[in-house]
Symmetry: C2
Subunit: 158 residues, 2 copies
């Protein structure tokens, strides 16, 4: 099945937060995200990779307007769950390549990563779905990245 | 906007691989995934969280049938990019909650995580999209997890 890339999107409306060094045991993610939900913090993207020596990091994005309160709540949660700390970055952007048939075509992700690399853009986080490869990058470079990605995938920039 | 959860899905057809301690600089992800694409390894989910002291981990899933060759290629890549090592786990399952309006309803992710915790299921990886929250868990627990998630979201199990 050929992969068809239909769009390149980007989003600078959110900030990134990372709860670092959380214990990797059942209930930790539940505690964190139930508390944030109760505080009506609009969590969008959540990324957690595998743990190392029993600890891992949980990163997530929130709208810029929610960052201050989200940080306040998450610092309290960090203490509660025994995490190492919390950090945030409100200068990020998320850029995504959207398409169909990507699962059977690893070349699409490879092309996206090569294109970002060719612009000197460092990939801070990667997350995928069946129809989308998303990267968190520096917001200051996102316009160059988006232009280069449109070119790489033969798309016209809107 | 109310979130509507329409389905709980699970997938035991893939294994997890982690390329650990990769240098966090432009070009690394490109090198890894272009090589895997060239080898026709069917990479599905890719997760990378933020780096710490200049290194991070890149995890991805492949069909069980591709695991042996993917490990062989990735071990070579690990040396090439200066990564710390490669590991794999062919006993995982991926379980997802699918719905609409989840971005503005952090309670859905919280409910999913609480439900998994209540079954004693540890969440190894988390990845989200606008319509899906996915967790990598132990394949041996996935049936209990899926049953509990259907119940938690008021869905009938197919
Ligand atoms: C780290 C966090 O995801 C933990 N493993 C949990 O299940 O809640
Ligand atoms: C770690 C990897 O994603 C690296 N930051 C890159 O841009 O390729």
């Amino acid at each position: 099945e050929q992969a068809i890339v239909s769009a390149v999107t980007h989003d600078t409306s959110e900030a990134k937060m990372t709860l670092a060094g959380v214990p990797d045991r059942p209930g930790v993610a539940a505690t964190v995200f139930r508390a944030l939900a109760d505080q009506e913090v609009n969590v969008d993207m959540i990324v957690q990779n595998v743990s190392d020596h029993g600890v891992t990091d949980i990163s997530f994005t929130v709208p810029h307007a929610d960052l201050a309160s989200a940080m306040e709540h998450t610092e309290r949660l960090a203490a509660e769950v025994g995490a190492a700390g919390v950090s945030s970055d409100d200068t990020i952007a998320r850029v995504s390549v959207v398409g169909a048939g990507m699962r059977s075509n690893p070349g699409v992700a490879a092309t996206m990563f090569e294109t970002l690399s060719s612009c000197g853009v460092n990939i801070q986080m990667i997350s995928t779905s069946a129809i989308r490869v998303s990267c968190v990058v520096d917001g200051g470079q996102v316009e160059d990245a988006v232009r280069a990605l449109h070119e790489a995938f033969g798309l016209h920039e809107a």
